[in-house]
Protein backbone atom coordinates (compact mmCIF):
# COMPACT_ATOMS: atom_id res chain seq x y z
CA UNK A 1 0.00 0.00 0.00
CA UNK A 2 1.46 3.35 -0.97
CA UNK A 3 1.98 5.31 2.22
CA UNK A 4 -0.53 8.09 2.66
CA UNK A 5 -0.71 8.45 -1.08
CA UNK A 6 -4.33 9.34 -0.47
CA UNK A 7 -3.47 12.28 1.77
CA UNK A 8 -0.68 13.60 -0.44
CA UNK A 9 -2.71 13.10 -3.61
CA UNK A 10 -5.74 14.93 -2.28
CA UNK A 11 -4.07 17.73 -0.41
CA UNK A 12 -0.83 18.49 -2.28
CA UNK A 13 -1.48 19.76 -5.79
CA UNK A 14 2.07 19.38 -7.19
CA UNK A 15 5.34 17.86 -5.99
CA UNK A 16 8.63 19.22 -7.30
CA UNK A 17 11.84 17.24 -6.76
CA UNK A 18 15.11 19.18 -6.81
CA UNK A 19 17.75 16.75 -8.02
CA UNK A 20 21.36 16.59 -9.07
CA UNK A 21 23.76 13.73 -9.40
CA UNK A 22 26.42 16.07 -8.06
CA UNK A 23 26.91 17.43 -4.57
CA UNK A 24 27.44 21.08 -3.79
CA UNK A 25 25.83 22.51 -6.92
CA UNK A 26 23.23 24.41 -4.94
CA UNK A 27 20.20 22.10 -4.74
CA UNK A 28 19.26 23.34 -1.27
CA UNK A 29 19.86 27.00 -2.16
CA UNK A 30 17.73 26.55 -5.28
CA UNK A 31 15.03 24.71 -3.26
CA UNK A 32 14.84 27.53 -0.71
CA UNK A 33 14.76 30.29 -3.31
CA UNK A 34 12.12 28.49 -5.40
CA UNK A 35 10.02 28.04 -2.24
CA UNK A 36 10.25 31.75 -1.43
CA UNK A 37 9.45 32.70 -5.01
CA UNK A 38 6.38 30.44 -5.09
CA UNK A 39 5.24 31.99 -1.79
CA UNK A 40 5.62 35.48 -3.23
CA UNK A 41 3.42 34.35 -6.12
CA UNK A 42 0.67 33.55 -3.63
CA UNK A 43 1.10 29.78 -3.42
CA UNK A 44 0.90 27.54 -0.34
CA UNK A 45 4.28 25.84 -0.18
CA UNK A 46 5.91 23.02 1.75
CA UNK A 47 9.60 22.12 1.69
CA UNK A 48 10.83 18.65 2.59
CA UNK A 49 14.55 18.23 3.24
CA UNK A 50 15.27 14.64 2.23
CA UNK A 51 19.03 14.99 2.77
CA UNK A 52 19.38 13.09 6.02
CA UNK A 53 23.19 13.19 6.34
CA UNK A 54 23.59 16.85 5.41
CA UNK A 55 20.28 18.67 6.09
CA UNK A 56 20.89 22.26 4.99
CA UNK A 57 17.36 23.68 4.66
CA UNK A 58 16.80 24.81 8.30
CA UNK A 59 19.94 26.96 8.32
CA UNK A 60 19.19 28.49 4.94
CA UNK A 61 15.63 29.46 5.80
CA UNK A 62 16.46 30.78 9.28
CA UNK A 63 14.88 27.84 11.14
CA UNK A 64 18.11 26.48 12.59
CA UNK A 65 17.68 25.06 16.07
CA UNK A 66 13.92 24.58 15.85
CA UNK A 67 12.29 21.32 16.89
CA UNK A 68 9.35 19.48 15.46
CA UNK A 69 6.11 19.02 17.43
CA UNK A 70 3.81 16.02 17.34
CA UNK A 71 0.10 16.62 16.82
CA UNK A 72 -2.72 14.08 17.34
CA UNK A 73 -2.49 12.93 13.71
CA UNK A 74 1.25 13.08 13.14
CA UNK A 75 4.18 15.47 13.00
CA UNK A 76 3.45 19.13 12.53
CA UNK A 77 5.77 20.77 10.03
CA UNK A 78 7.93 23.62 11.31
CA UNK A 79 6.71 26.99 10.09
CA UNK A 80 9.32 29.43 8.82
CA UNK A 81 9.93 32.05 6.16
CA UNK A 82 7.97 35.26 5.60
CA UNK A 83 5.06 35.39 8.08
CA UNK A 84 5.90 31.76 8.93
CA UNK A 85 4.01 30.77 5.79
CA UNK A 86 6.37 27.99 4.68
CA UNK A 87 5.88 24.44 6.03
CA UNK A 88 9.16 22.61 6.57
CA UNK A 89 10.37 19.20 7.54
CA UNK A 90 13.98 18.14 8.03
CA UNK A 91 15.78 15.50 10.06
CA UNK A 92 17.71 18.42 11.57
CA UNK A 93 14.56 19.26 13.58
CA UNK A 94 14.71 15.83 15.22
CA UNK A 95 18.28 16.08 16.49
CA UNK A 96 18.85 17.21 20.06
CA UNK A 97 22.48 18.03 19.25
CA UNK A 98 22.64 19.60 15.80
CA UNK A 99 26.27 18.47 15.28
CA UNK A 100 25.38 14.79 15.73
CA UNK A 101 26.03 12.71 12.64
CA UNK A 102 23.21 10.62 11.21
CA UNK A 103 25.14 7.41 10.62
CA UNK A 104 22.40 5.33 9.09
CA UNK A 105 22.46 2.69 6.41
CA UNK A 106 19.99 2.61 3.55
CA UNK A 107 16.99 0.84 5.14
CA UNK A 108 16.73 3.29 8.03
CA UNK A 109 17.10 6.29 5.71
CA UNK A 110 14.34 4.84 3.51
CA UNK A 111 12.05 4.41 6.52
CA UNK A 112 12.64 8.00 7.68
CA UNK A 113 11.88 9.53 4.31
CA UNK A 114 8.71 7.52 3.93
CA UNK A 115 7.65 8.74 7.37
CA UNK A 116 8.28 12.32 6.28
CA UNK A 117 5.89 11.77 3.40
CA UNK A 118 3.26 9.79 5.30
CA UNK A 119 3.32 11.09 8.89
CA UNK A 120 3.77 14.82 8.46
CA UNK A 121 0.56 16.84 8.48
CA UNK A 122 1.42 18.94 5.44
CA UNK A 123 -2.14 20.23 5.07
CA UNK A 124 -3.34 21.73 1.82
CA UNK A 125 -0.42 22.76 -0.34
CA UNK A 126 -0.11 24.00 -3.88
CA UNK A 127 3.49 22.80 -4.10
CA UNK A 128 5.63 20.46 -2.03
CA UNK A 129 9.29 20.90 -2.90
CA UNK A 130 11.57 17.97 -2.04
CA UNK A 131 15.25 18.80 -1.66
CA UNK A 132 17.41 15.70 -2.15
CA UNK A 133 21.00 14.67 -1.43
CA UNK A 134 23.35 14.05 -4.37
CA UNK A 135 23.23 10.65 -6.04
CA UNK A 136 20.74 8.06 -7.20
CA UNK A 137 20.27 5.83 -4.20
CA UNK A 138 18.13 4.96 -1.20
CA UNK A 139 16.79 8.44 -0.48
CA UNK A 140 15.74 9.08 -4.09
CA UNK A 141 14.05 5.71 -4.44
CA UNK A 142 12.30 6.24 -1.09
CA UNK A 143 10.93 9.60 -2.22
CA UNK A 144 9.58 8.11 -5.43
CA UNK A 145 8.06 5.14 -3.59
CA UNK A 146 6.45 7.49 -1.09
CA UNK A 147 4.97 9.54 -3.92
CA UNK A 148 3.62 6.55 -5.81
CA UNK A 149 0.21 7.38 -7.23
CA UNK A 150 0.58 11.14 -6.98
CA UNK A 151 -0.56 12.52 -10.33
CA UNK A 152 1.72 15.55 -10.55
CA UNK A 153 5.32 15.09 -9.60
CA UNK A 154 8.21 16.33 -11.62
CA UNK A 155 11.84 17.28 -11.21
CA UNK A 156 14.19 20.14 -11.81
CA UNK A 157 17.88 19.28 -12.20
CA UNK A 158 20.65 21.53 -10.90
CA UNK A 159 24.19 21.54 -12.23
CA UNK A 160 27.21 23.82 -12.35
CA UNK A 161 28.87 24.51 -15.70
CA UNK A 162 31.77 22.07 -15.13
CA UNK A 163 32.07 18.79 -17.01
CA UNK A 164 32.60 16.96 -13.72
CA UNK A 165 29.19 18.15 -12.55
CA UNK A 166 27.46 17.67 -15.88
CA UNK A 167 28.70 14.06 -15.96
CA UNK A 168 26.87 13.26 -12.74
CA UNK A 169 23.74 15.15 -13.79
CA UNK A 170 23.65 13.16 -17.02
CA UNK A 171 23.34 10.06 -14.82
CA UNK A 172 20.59 11.71 -12.80
CA UNK A 173 18.70 12.27 -16.05
CA UNK A 174 18.99 8.55 -16.73
CA UNK A 175 17.59 7.92 -13.24
CA UNK A 176 14.62 10.17 -14.03
CA UNK A 177 14.06 8.45 -17.33
CA UNK A 178 14.22 4.97 -15.76
CA UNK A 179 11.85 5.90 -12.95
CA UNK A 180 9.37 7.74 -15.17
CA UNK A 181 10.03 11.09 -13.47
CA UNK A 182 9.17 14.06 -15.67
CA UNK A 183 12.03 16.56 -15.92
CA UNK A 184 10.85 20.16 -16.24
CA UNK A 185 14.32 21.45 -16.98
CA UNK A 186 17.94 22.09 -16.00
CA UNK A 187 19.25 25.01 -13.94
CA UNK A 188 22.90 25.96 -14.33
CA UNK A 189 24.06 27.37 -10.99
CA UNK A 190 27.33 29.18 -10.10
CA UNK A 191 27.43 30.38 -13.68
CA UNK A 192 30.09 33.06 -13.65
CA UNK A 193 31.25 35.51 -11.02
CA UNK A 194 31.25 39.25 -11.56
CA UNK A 195 34.11 40.81 -9.60
CA UNK A 196 32.63 43.54 -7.38
CA UNK A 197 35.82 45.59 -7.74
CA UNK A 198 36.27 45.71 -11.52
CA UNK A 199 33.09 44.06 -12.99
CA UNK A 200 35.17 41.44 -14.86
CA UNK A 201 33.22 38.19 -15.18
CA UNK A 202 35.21 35.03 -14.45
CA UNK A 203 33.92 31.54 -15.14
CA UNK A 204 35.28 29.98 -11.99
CA UNK A 205 33.54 26.66 -12.50
CA UNK A 206 34.04 26.48 -16.27
CA UNK A 207 31.37 27.48 -18.77
CA UNK A 208 28.32 26.33 -20.66
CA UNK A 209 28.02 22.76 -19.40
CA UNK A 210 24.40 23.03 -18.26
CA UNK A 211 23.14 24.54 -21.49
CA UNK A 212 25.03 21.94 -23.58
CA UNK A 213 23.61 19.09 -21.53
CA UNK A 214 20.09 20.42 -21.91
CA UNK A 215 20.55 20.59 -25.68
CA UNK A 216 22.18 17.15 -25.83
CA UNK A 217 19.35 15.52 -23.87
CA UNK A 218 16.54 17.61 -25.37
CA UNK A 219 15.54 19.03 -21.98
CA UNK A 220 14.48 22.62 -21.37
CA UNK A 221 17.29 24.90 -20.22
CA UNK A 222 15.63 26.94 -17.48
CA UNK A 223 18.44 29.42 -17.06
CA UNK A 224 21.80 30.33 -15.53
CA UNK A 225 22.22 31.60 -12.01
CA UNK A 226 25.40 33.58 -11.30
CA UNK A 227 27.64 33.15 -8.25
CA UNK A 228 26.39 35.75 -5.81
CA UNK A 229 28.13 36.14 -2.44
CA UNK A 230 25.22 38.24 -1.15
CA UNK A 231 22.87 35.26 -1.57
CA UNK A 232 25.47 32.91 -0.07
CA UNK A 233 25.62 35.26 2.92
CA UNK A 234 21.83 35.42 3.23
CA UNK A 235 21.54 31.63 3.16
CA UNK A 236 24.27 31.21 5.75
CA UNK A 237 23.02 33.31 8.64
CA UNK A 238 19.81 33.94 10.54
CA UNK A 239 17.49 35.34 7.98
CA UNK A 240 15.26 38.30 8.76
CA UNK A 241 12.07 38.12 6.73
CA UNK A 242 10.48 41.10 8.42
CA UNK A 243 12.24 43.63 6.22
CA UNK A 244 12.32 43.54 2.44
CA UNK A 245 15.82 42.86 1.17
CA UNK A 246 17.23 44.00 -2.16
CA UNK A 247 17.00 41.25 -4.71
CA UNK A 248 20.41 40.30 -6.07
CA UNK A 249 21.12 38.81 -9.51
CA UNK A 250 20.95 35.17 -8.31
CA UNK A 251 17.61 35.69 -6.58
CA UNK A 252 16.21 37.43 -9.65
CA UNK A 253 17.32 34.58 -11.90
CA UNK A 254 15.75 31.99 -9.59
CA UNK A 255 12.51 33.94 -9.33
CA UNK A 256 12.26 33.92 -13.11
CA UNK A 257 12.90 30.16 -13.13
CA UNK A 258 10.19 29.71 -10.47
CA UNK A 259 7.68 31.48 -12.72
CA UNK A 260 8.44 29.10 -15.59
CA UNK A 261 8.17 26.06 -13.31
CA UNK A 262 4.89 27.23 -11.81
CA UNK A 263 3.33 27.60 -15.24
CA UNK A 264 4.43 24.07 -16.22
CA UNK A 265 3.23 22.50 -12.96
CA UNK A 266 -0.12 24.29 -13.17
CA UNK A 267 -0.66 22.97 -16.68
CA UNK A 268 0.17 19.43 -15.57
CA UNK A 269 -2.12 19.74 -12.53
CA UNK A 270 -5.01 21.00 -14.69
CA UNK A 271 -4.55 18.10 -17.11
CA UNK A 272 -4.45 15.64 -14.19
CA UNK A 273 -7.65 17.07 -12.74
CA UNK A 274 -9.61 16.81 -15.95
CA UNK A 275 -8.47 13.25 -16.75
Amino acid sequence: MALNSDGLQKRVRCVLLVLSGKGGVGKSSVSVQLALSFLSLGKKVGLLDADLCGPSIPLMIGAHGKNVQRGPDGWLPVRAGPSASLSLMSVAFLLSNKDDAIVWRGPKKTAMIKQFLSDVQWGDLDILIVDTPPGTSDEHLAVLEGLRGHPVYSAVLVTTPQAVSVGDVRRELTFCHKTGTKVLGIVENMSGFVCPHCVECTNIFSQGGGESLAKECDIRFLGSVPLDPSLALTLDKDRDFSCAATEGPAEAALRHIAEILLKEMNEDANVAQTS
Binding site: K22, L59, P134, R171
Partner: protein, 323 residues
Protein backbone atom coordinates in the same frame (compact mmCIF):
# COMPACT_ATOMS: atom_id res chain seq x y z
CA UNK B 1 26.53 2.45 16.51
CA UNK B 2 26.30 -1.17 17.59
CA UNK B 3 29.13 -3.66 17.17
CA UNK B 4 29.74 -5.83 14.11
CA UNK B 5 28.75 -2.96 11.87
CA UNK B 6 25.03 -3.16 12.58
CA UNK B 7 23.63 0.32 12.63
CA UNK B 8 20.29 2.01 12.72
CA UNK B 9 19.57 0.40 16.08
CA UNK B 10 16.70 1.58 18.32
CA UNK B 11 17.45 3.39 21.54
CA UNK B 12 16.81 0.36 23.78
CA UNK B 13 18.65 -2.06 21.53
CA UNK B 14 19.46 -5.17 23.61
CA UNK B 15 22.81 -5.47 21.80
CA UNK B 16 23.40 -7.12 18.46
CA UNK B 17 25.68 -9.76 19.98
CA UNK B 18 23.40 -10.78 22.82
CA UNK B 19 20.93 -13.67 23.03
CA UNK B 20 18.06 -11.18 22.93
CA UNK B 21 19.26 -9.71 19.64
CA UNK B 22 16.30 -9.44 17.25
CA UNK B 23 13.91 -10.95 19.80
CA UNK B 24 13.35 -8.24 22.41
CA UNK B 25 10.43 -5.80 22.18
CA UNK B 26 12.57 -2.73 21.19
CA UNK B 27 13.60 -4.81 18.14
CA UNK B 28 10.12 -4.49 16.61
CA UNK B 29 10.36 -2.36 13.51
CA UNK B 30 14.16 -2.16 13.56
CA UNK B 31 15.43 -2.75 10.02
CA UNK B 32 18.09 -5.10 11.39
CA UNK B 33 15.65 -7.31 13.28
CA UNK B 34 15.78 -10.28 10.91
CA UNK B 35 19.55 -10.13 10.70
CA UNK B 36 19.97 -10.15 14.46
CA UNK B 37 17.36 -12.84 15.08
CA UNK B 38 19.14 -15.13 12.62
CA UNK B 39 22.39 -14.74 14.54
CA UNK B 40 24.23 -13.52 11.43
CA UNK B 41 25.14 -10.17 12.99
CA UNK B 42 27.45 -11.98 15.39
CA UNK B 43 29.57 -13.65 12.74
CA UNK B 44 32.61 -11.53 11.79
CA UNK B 45 32.84 -10.85 8.06
CA UNK B 46 35.67 -12.97 6.59
CA UNK B 47 36.25 -10.22 4.02
CA UNK B 48 37.85 -8.05 6.72
CA UNK B 49 40.80 -10.45 7.05
CA UNK B 50 40.95 -11.05 3.29
CA UNK B 51 41.17 -7.29 2.76
CA UNK B 52 43.94 -7.00 5.34
CA UNK B 53 45.94 -9.59 3.44
CA UNK B 54 45.20 -8.01 0.07
CA UNK B 55 46.38 -4.61 1.33
CA UNK B 56 49.57 -5.88 2.95
CA UNK B 57 51.54 -4.24 0.16
CA UNK B 58 49.90 -0.84 0.75
CA UNK B 59 51.90 1.24 3.18
CA UNK B 60 49.53 4.10 4.00
CA UNK B 61 45.78 4.42 3.62
CA UNK B 62 44.13 7.84 3.68
CA UNK B 63 40.43 8.67 3.40
CA UNK B 64 39.24 11.97 1.95
CA UNK B 65 35.93 12.89 3.56
CA UNK B 66 33.40 15.68 3.89
CA UNK B 67 29.89 15.85 5.21
CA UNK B 68 29.17 18.27 2.38
CA UNK B 69 29.04 17.68 -1.34
CA UNK B 70 30.88 19.80 -3.88
CA UNK B 71 33.59 21.12 -1.56
CA UNK B 72 36.43 19.62 -3.58
CA UNK B 73 37.05 16.14 -2.16
CA UNK B 74 37.81 14.61 -5.55
CA UNK B 75 39.87 17.63 -6.57
CA UNK B 76 41.94 17.31 -3.39
CA UNK B 77 42.26 13.55 -3.81
CA UNK B 78 43.70 14.13 -7.26
CA UNK B 79 46.14 16.81 -6.07
CA UNK B 80 47.28 14.55 -3.22
CA UNK B 81 47.90 11.79 -5.74
CA UNK B 82 49.68 14.09 -8.21
CA UNK B 83 51.71 15.62 -5.42
CA UNK B 84 52.93 12.35 -3.95
CA UNK B 85 53.54 10.91 -7.43
CA UNK B 86 56.02 13.70 -8.28
CA UNK B 87 58.42 11.67 -6.16
CA UNK B 88 59.15 8.93 -8.65
CA UNK B 89 60.16 6.54 -5.92
CA UNK B 90 56.60 6.57 -4.58
CA UNK B 91 53.69 4.54 -5.95
CA UNK B 92 50.24 6.07 -5.45
CA UNK B 93 46.80 4.55 -5.87
CA UNK B 94 43.31 6.05 -5.71
CA UNK B 95 40.11 4.21 -4.89
CA UNK B 96 36.96 6.08 -5.92
CA UNK B 97 34.08 4.79 -3.79
CA UNK B 98 31.63 7.46 -4.91
CA UNK B 99 29.49 4.86 -6.64
CA UNK B 100 26.69 7.15 -7.84
CA UNK B 101 28.92 10.07 -8.86
CA UNK B 102 32.39 8.72 -9.76
CA UNK B 103 34.51 11.73 -10.76
CA UNK B 104 38.07 10.43 -10.43
CA UNK B 105 38.50 8.95 -13.93
CA UNK B 106 37.76 12.30 -15.58
CA UNK B 107 39.97 14.23 -13.17
CA UNK B 108 42.91 11.85 -13.62
CA UNK B 109 42.53 11.82 -17.41
CA UNK B 110 41.25 8.24 -17.53
CA UNK B 111 37.71 8.79 -18.82
CA UNK B 112 36.39 5.91 -20.90
CA UNK B 113 38.91 3.33 -19.72
CA UNK B 114 37.84 -0.19 -18.81
CA UNK B 115 38.97 -2.46 -16.01
CA UNK B 116 40.68 -5.80 -16.67
CA UNK B 117 40.68 -8.98 -14.67
CA UNK B 118 43.89 -10.85 -14.17
CA UNK B 119 44.84 -14.01 -12.28
CA UNK B 120 45.59 -11.95 -9.19
CA UNK B 121 42.31 -9.97 -9.24
CA UNK B 122 41.08 -6.75 -10.84
CA UNK B 123 43.82 -4.59 -12.33
CA UNK B 124 43.47 -0.89 -11.63
CA UNK B 125 43.82 1.56 -14.51
CA UNK B 126 47.08 3.55 -14.61
CA UNK B 127 47.34 7.24 -15.46
CA UNK B 128 50.20 8.89 -17.34
CA UNK B 129 51.80 9.77 -14.01
CA UNK B 130 51.62 6.15 -12.90
CA UNK B 131 48.71 6.68 -10.50
CA UNK B 132 46.58 3.53 -10.16
CA UNK B 133 42.81 4.09 -10.08
CA UNK B 134 39.74 1.96 -9.48
CA UNK B 135 36.29 3.49 -9.95
CA UNK B 136 32.73 2.41 -10.68
CA UNK B 137 32.94 4.55 -13.80
CA UNK B 138 35.22 1.88 -15.33
CA UNK B 139 32.43 -0.67 -14.97
CA UNK B 140 29.77 1.36 -16.78
CA UNK B 141 29.25 0.87 -20.50
CA UNK B 142 28.26 4.49 -21.10
CA UNK B 143 28.81 7.88 -19.46
CA UNK B 144 25.04 8.27 -19.06
CA UNK B 145 24.59 5.01 -17.13
CA UNK B 146 23.12 5.64 -13.70
CA UNK B 147 23.97 3.40 -10.76
CA UNK B 148 20.61 3.23 -9.03
CA UNK B 149 21.57 0.97 -6.15
CA UNK B 150 20.42 0.77 -2.57
CA UNK B 151 22.85 0.51 0.31
CA UNK B 152 23.46 -3.27 0.39
CA UNK B 153 24.45 -3.44 -3.26
CA UNK B 154 26.79 -0.47 -2.88
CA UNK B 155 28.35 -2.20 0.11
CA UNK B 156 28.90 -5.33 -1.98
CA UNK B 157 30.82 -3.39 -4.62
CA UNK B 158 32.97 -1.63 -2.04
CA UNK B 159 33.84 -5.01 -0.56
CA UNK B 160 34.88 -6.21 -4.02
CA UNK B 161 36.94 -3.10 -4.63
CA UNK B 162 38.82 -3.57 -1.37
CA UNK B 163 39.20 -7.33 -1.59
CA UNK B 164 39.70 -7.97 -5.28
CA UNK B 165 41.74 -5.10 -6.70
CA UNK B 166 45.43 -5.95 -7.05
CA UNK B 167 47.22 -2.72 -6.14
CA UNK B 168 50.62 -4.38 -5.93
CA UNK B 169 53.26 -2.67 -3.80
CA UNK B 170 51.87 0.83 -3.15
CA UNK B 171 53.02 3.60 -0.85
CA UNK B 172 49.72 5.49 -0.64
CA UNK B 173 46.14 4.39 -1.21
CA UNK B 174 43.88 7.45 -1.18
CA UNK B 175 40.15 6.77 -0.94
CA UNK B 176 37.80 9.37 -2.41
CA UNK B 177 34.34 9.23 -0.86
CA UNK B 178 30.88 10.61 -1.64
CA UNK B 179 29.45 13.26 0.73
CA UNK B 180 27.72 12.09 3.89
CA UNK B 181 28.01 9.53 6.65
CA UNK B 182 26.24 6.49 5.30
CA UNK B 183 26.67 3.06 3.73
CA UNK B 184 29.80 3.82 1.70
CA UNK B 185 31.60 5.39 4.64
CA UNK B 186 30.54 2.80 7.19
CA UNK B 187 31.40 -0.12 4.92
CA UNK B 188 34.82 1.26 4.02
CA UNK B 189 35.78 1.92 7.63
CA UNK B 190 34.46 -1.44 8.83
CA UNK B 191 36.02 -3.44 6.01
CA UNK B 192 39.37 -1.73 6.63
CA UNK B 193 39.19 -2.35 10.39
CA UNK B 194 41.93 -4.99 10.26
CA UNK B 195 43.98 -3.36 7.50
CA UNK B 196 43.92 -0.04 9.41
CA UNK B 197 43.31 3.43 8.02
CA UNK B 198 46.14 5.86 8.77
CA UNK B 199 43.88 8.87 8.83
CA UNK B 200 41.22 11.00 7.22
CA UNK B 201 41.48 14.39 5.59
CA UNK B 202 38.27 16.37 5.91
CA UNK B 203 37.44 18.95 3.26
CA UNK B 204 35.18 21.95 3.69
CA UNK B 205 34.44 25.36 2.23
CA UNK B 206 34.28 28.44 4.46
CA UNK B 207 30.54 28.91 4.88
CA UNK B 208 28.42 27.65 7.77
CA UNK B 209 26.23 25.61 5.42
CA UNK B 210 29.32 23.45 4.73
CA UNK B 211 30.76 23.52 8.24
CA UNK B 212 27.55 22.26 9.85
CA UNK B 213 27.81 19.11 7.73
CA UNK B 214 31.56 18.85 8.31
CA UNK B 215 31.12 18.92 12.09
CA UNK B 216 28.91 15.86 11.64
CA UNK B 217 31.68 14.22 9.64
CA UNK B 218 34.11 14.89 12.50
CA UNK B 219 31.53 13.35 14.84
CA UNK B 220 31.39 10.33 12.54
CA UNK B 221 35.20 9.97 12.63
CA UNK B 222 35.22 10.21 16.39
CA UNK B 223 32.41 7.66 16.78
CA UNK B 224 34.34 5.21 14.59
CA UNK B 225 37.73 6.09 16.15
CA UNK B 226 39.11 7.16 12.79
CA UNK B 227 42.18 9.45 13.20
CA UNK B 228 41.68 12.87 11.61
CA UNK B 229 44.82 14.14 9.91
CA UNK B 230 43.28 17.56 9.57
CA UNK B 231 40.91 19.84 7.71
CA UNK B 232 41.37 21.53 4.33
CA UNK B 233 39.39 24.70 3.62
CA UNK B 234 38.78 24.86 -0.11
CA UNK B 235 37.42 27.82 -2.14
CA UNK B 236 38.79 30.15 0.54
CA UNK B 237 39.02 33.38 -1.43
CA UNK B 238 38.84 34.37 -5.07
CA UNK B 239 41.51 36.57 -6.62
CA UNK B 240 40.24 38.35 -9.71
CA UNK B 241 42.57 37.57 -12.61
CA UNK B 242 42.06 41.12 -13.92
CA UNK B 243 42.33 43.47 -10.95
CA UNK B 244 43.94 40.98 -8.52
CA UNK B 245 41.60 42.04 -5.71
CA UNK B 246 40.20 39.41 -3.37
CA UNK B 247 36.54 38.49 -2.96
CA UNK B 248 34.96 36.01 -0.58
CA UNK B 249 32.46 34.12 -2.64
CA UNK B 250 31.57 31.73 0.21
CA UNK B 251 31.69 34.06 3.22
CA UNK B 252 32.95 32.48 6.46
CA UNK B 253 29.97 33.70 8.47
CA UNK B 254 30.87 31.55 11.48
CA UNK B 255 34.65 31.91 11.30
CA UNK B 256 35.35 29.38 8.57
CA UNK B 257 37.42 26.24 9.00
CA UNK B 258 39.88 28.06 11.20
CA UNK B 259 37.30 28.64 13.91
CA UNK B 260 35.88 25.14 13.58
CA UNK B 261 39.34 23.56 13.90
CA UNK B 262 40.05 25.67 16.96
CA UNK B 263 36.74 24.70 18.57
CA UNK B 264 37.07 21.00 17.77
CA UNK B 265 40.82 20.58 18.39
CA UNK B 266 41.72 19.75 14.78
CA UNK B 267 44.64 20.75 12.57
CA UNK B 268 43.93 23.12 9.70
CA UNK B 269 46.09 21.64 6.94
CA UNK B 270 45.61 24.55 4.58
CA UNK B 271 43.33 27.04 2.86
CA UNK B 272 43.08 26.76 -0.91
CA UNK B 273 41.91 29.82 -2.87
CA UNK B 274 39.58 29.58 -5.87
CA UNK B 275 41.35 29.45 -9.18
CA UNK B 276 39.31 28.88 -12.36
CA UNK B 277 42.18 26.86 -13.75
CA UNK B 278 41.51 24.15 -11.15
CA UNK B 279 38.05 23.45 -12.56
CA UNK B 280 39.42 23.52 -16.10
CA UNK B 281 42.21 21.06 -15.29
CA UNK B 282 39.78 18.71 -13.54
CA UNK B 283 37.41 18.82 -16.48
CA UNK B 284 40.23 18.11 -18.90
CA UNK B 285 41.99 15.47 -16.81
CA UNK B 286 45.20 17.47 -16.47
CA UNK B 287 47.25 17.73 -13.25
CA UNK B 288 46.70 21.27 -11.91
CA UNK B 289 49.49 20.80 -9.40
CA UNK B 290 52.15 20.42 -12.07
CA UNK B 291 50.59 22.46 -14.88
CA UNK B 292 49.91 25.69 -12.97
CA UNK B 293 52.79 25.87 -10.51
CA UNK B 294 52.58 29.67 -10.15
CA UNK B 295 49.06 29.60 -8.71
CA UNK B 296 48.68 30.37 -4.97
CA UNK B 297 46.26 27.39 -4.95
CA UNK B 298 49.15 25.20 -6.09
CA UNK B 299 51.33 26.37 -3.19
CA UNK B 300 48.50 25.63 -0.80
CA UNK B 301 47.96 22.14 -2.24
CA UNK B 302 51.69 21.37 -2.06
CA UNK B 303 51.80 22.30 1.62
CA UNK B 304 48.81 20.08 2.28
CA UNK B 305 50.44 17.15 0.47
CA UNK B 306 53.55 17.54 2.60
CA UNK B 307 51.58 17.73 5.83
CA UNK B 308 49.58 14.61 4.99
CA UNK B 309 52.76 12.72 4.18
CA UNK B 310 54.46 13.91 7.35
CA UNK B 311 51.47 12.73 9.41
CA UNK B 312 51.46 9.26 7.85
CA UNK B 313 55.22 8.76 7.75
CA UNK B 314 55.76 9.97 11.31
CA UNK B 315 54.14 6.84 12.68
CA UNK B 316 56.62 4.47 14.29
CA UNK B 317 57.76 1.57 12.09
CA UNK B 318 57.00 -1.91 13.30
CA UNK B 319 59.82 -3.05 15.62
CA UNK B 320 62.44 -5.27 13.95
CA UNK B 321 62.71 -8.84 15.23
CA UNK B 322 65.22 -9.25 18.08
CA UNK B 323 68.53 -10.72 16.87
Amino acid sequence: MAENGVTGVPQDCPGTSTEQAGKASPCQGCPNQALCASGQAQVPDPAVQQIKERLNGVRYKVLVLSGKGGVGKSTLTAQLAFGIATDESKQVAVLDIDICGPSMPRILGLDGEQVHQSGSGWSPVYSEDGIALMSTAFLLSSAADAVIWRGPKKNGLIKQFLRDVDWGETDYLIVDTPPGTSDEHLSTVQLLSAAKIDGAVIVTTPQEAALQDVRKEVDFCRKLKLPVIGVVENMSVFVCPKCKKESQIFPPTSGGAERMCHDMGLDLLGKVPLDPRIARCCDEGRPFLTEVPDSPACTAYRDIVQRVQRFCEAKPEKPKAME
